[in-house]
């Protein structure tokens, strides 16, 4: 049997094809693009909420998609412990749907930012980081206008090990210069209490093939490899 991953397509998703491409052609799993109204969780071992501008990001990034029936389906997966990742707009959707804590606000600069950054892995015990060494520094791009992570409950996140990755410099040091958008504590990705659901502002699907990477790295793949590993361990 092959692993089946759903890539959910909301009106306005635009990294949906990219995620499908990487899963199918780079990771060699069976990924399917599914229109949000047609998503049925029972057919899948995991799901990806891709980047983009669902419903134009009108009102607030992610909020309208968070009300889609696809999210109710995904909630079943969440409770069941299957892996779910929200990338960029997907992360925004998952915070608005309260799968994940906190919120993503407009970048401090008020500008969209597209660039490669470094992130450090703070927690490698999640469904998407179990194949990465803790404290490794990864090279990966961001592309967003609303990526400033905020929570009114930082202590709880820290106590529960819910911070997954942070923006750092090349050497893994957390500094203001390496914070591209004004995120609290340089947070770039978080997970739920159970660690089967994560949200990332950076785009692993854009960093999974060496030809796309300025330094020839493929660090984005690590997140998907971890997901596959996690699914294999659970049994599918």
């Amino acid at each position: 049997m092959t692993i089946k991953i759903a890539v959910i397509q909301f009106p306005g998703s635009n990294c949906d094809f990219d995620a499908v491409h990487v899963l199918n052609n780079v990771m060699n799993v069976d990924a399917e693009l599914i229109w949000h109204n047609n998503f049925k969780e029972a057919h899948f071992d995991g799901c990806i909420i891709p980047g983009g501008f669902s419903f134009g990001d009108y009102l607030r990034a992610g909020i309208i998609a968070a009300h889609s029936p696809a999210i109710d389906e995904a909630r079943v997966m969440l409770k069941d412990g299957r892996p779910i990742i929200g990338i960029c707009n997907g992360f925004q959707i998952l915070t608005e749907a309260r799968f994940l804590p906190g919120a993503l606000l407009r970048n401090e600069s008020l500008k969209f930012i597209c660039k490669w950054v470094n992130i450090k892995v703070e927690n490698n015990k999640t469904a998407f980081t179990n194949r990465i060494e803790k404290d490794s520094v990864l090279s990966i791009p961001i592309a967003h206008a609303e990526g400033r992570y905020f929570t009114d409950n930082l202590n709880e996140l820290e106590d529960n090990d819910q911070i997954v990755v942070k923006y750092t410099n090349k050497r893994g040091e957390i500094s203001e210069e390496s914070n591209p958008n004004g995120s609290l504590e340089n947070i770039a990705g978080v997970c739920n209490l159970e660690k089967n659901c994560i949200g990332l502002m950076p785009h692993p699907e854009r960093a999974s093939e060496s030809i796309l990477s300025p330094k020839g790295t493929t660090h984005g793949k690590l997140f998907f490899e971890s997901m596959i590993e996690f699914i294999k361990k659970r049994g599918f």
Partner: protein, 748 residues
Amino acid sequence: MPKVKSNGTELKVDLTDKEITQIKELLNREPSITEWGMFDVMHSEHCSYKSSRPKLKFFENAEKNYDRVLAGPGQDAGVIDIGDGYCLAFRIESHNHPSAIEPYHGAATGIGGIIRDILCMGVRPIALLDPLRFGTLKNNPHSQWLLKYVVKGIADYGNCTGIPTIGGEVEFDESFESNCLVNVACIGLGTIEDFNHAPSRAYHPGDYVILMGGSTGRDGIHGVTFASRTLTEMSEADRPAVQIGDPFTKKMIIEATIEAIKTGHVRGLKDLGGGGISCALSELTGEGGTGALIDMANIFTREPGMTSFEIMLSESQERMAFIVKPEGLEDILAIFKKFEMSHAVIGRTDDSGVLKVRDGENLVVNLPSTALSDAPTIQREEKSPDYLDALHKQKTPEPTKELKEIMHALISSENICSKEWIYRQYDHEVGVRSVVKCGEGDSGVLRIIGTDKFIAASVGTNSKHCFLDPYEGAKGGLVETCGNVIANGARPLAMVNCCNFGNPEKPESYWYFSKALDGINDFCRTLKIPIVGGNVSFYNEDEVKNTSIKPTPVIMIVGIIEGAENIITLPFKKPGNDILLIGETKGELGGSEYHSVIYGTEGGVPPKINESIIKATWEFLLELYSKNLVEANHDVNKGGFIITIAEMCFKNKLGANLDLTDSNVNDLRDDIFLFSESAGRFVIESATKEHDIIMEIAQQHGVLVRKLGNIIPEPKIIVRGLKENDIFLDVIKLKELHASTLPDLMEI
């Protein structure tokens, strides 16, 4: 403006008396007010190209002369066959006037429009580029405001639709202060089958005409007339409300359209842009040799009570017209429902050759399908401006500053400095195709997933050069944009252009246009580059000074790279490697950055183009690539080769040790040699052991190559062998100046 009357209603039209008489003769009756409105729009400069068509005649045979051209000028976009069953569509367009008064929505809807043009060739839009012109930024809040919101408009629209902006170009010059230029280009990729599925013609009677997308509102009526006059001629009150773009709806339109085309049921496709429904329907039926009966009642409107005139002429954004086979209707409607896109069957095609629009009992439009597209042309007068002679005679002053100081001033000048402030705001990677990204090379390079082919694209021209000599300047634009794709390893395949000029009714402005087109035409013919499309924007004038903008024939080139190993990038890579200058440096400083930044003058004689040398240089480089002899390449333009070398040092913080003793073949003064903008030159990095073979190949091609020195690991540039003192430059300092200029100007 003359007035026409119909049934007691009066309408101001932009038609000549002769046109008015001809229209009445053609119809043998008095047109309805809606029909008058349609003629008015379709005969506007923007839609009919009435002033420019006599010159554009030269372009008309691309399909015949080049096997790879599938669609040439006259279509919504040029389309070329790139092998393996794929085709590329591309086009460039101007959105200058709306952007000059509302930079955010003006630029955004410009992007919206160019995306539609590509989409209606049946292919997926995969990349955007944005050549821009503004007044100088320093101490100029107006220009800063325009740049800030134009970039934001492009970013918000392009990013949301998921089409990466992979490159662009920008120049700052006083002449663009009140009339900025916002040109936008788009590239689409699809299979040749997709392209064949959806011509922008309605060839078959009995097909359904479907309108899909946004609703029709009162906004933007007469947008094209607006684009066909100067900003001063249109008072605030006359100006149509600038359109509000809706990138989210556009994204849905893209997905729904592509899904619809894949069914094979779509037989014709047309975007609604300038002239709205009128223009789309008359082109579909007129060029397809059919007619159609449209029922106005089925057109969904945004506000109640819109008249037939308003509906037929509305330029509301985000709408597409589909011509669909009867048996495919259900499937197509189901797709539009899935995407929750508003849509309506508004009529059917027939074989009458007449376009009829019914408003209740009345036929408000009843015109031969071809009537609207047969606009007359106007032969404009041309005359070279009197001021040019004096300008050409200006000499480069004796330098009053140290060369090092000049270098610092040039590298931090608005036109040479880094454009990162702009492209960071663009998602240039969505689509996972971007292989050479903004700032990493002279052009944007995209992979075609599933093949080992890559597309390289570049846009640009040098407005200062064109101002002094439009013929050589336009050729120079071609040399530069072709040079940009060649620098990345590509062979130029085809071009489109966007001609931005002043008022064509002024003989001087028309002369610029005419000469620039001669230049484009001569160059492309000699170098066998098919011209597959273009766009003309006239009436770009400075409102206050009542002078024209600098003539700006923007060129867009796409090229193809076969094989990932043949992609070349800009940064120097390895200390010890040779630095070679390809091409001859002459004393060509007319319209140079050196003149304008250091002396505040813009005269002199601009670079001349020698096609046979250009051709030899390209063939020489392509041969070096095929033998894997080039490690880095960057073409030389503004600021001269020394600026080129500095830029190549930046990324990897390397340096250069140069000895120029033997390279100044024309014995030029030091400053003239260093900062000359002679066209068609490149700086390449190659391994020292390959020096002799490279020189041998150069000799075979008759190309001048000089070794300037070597790459060094320390970030400094040492220049020896000049007539006067040696120069020592700090790369980190130069890089800092290069990077900080725009942010410092923009983030006051």
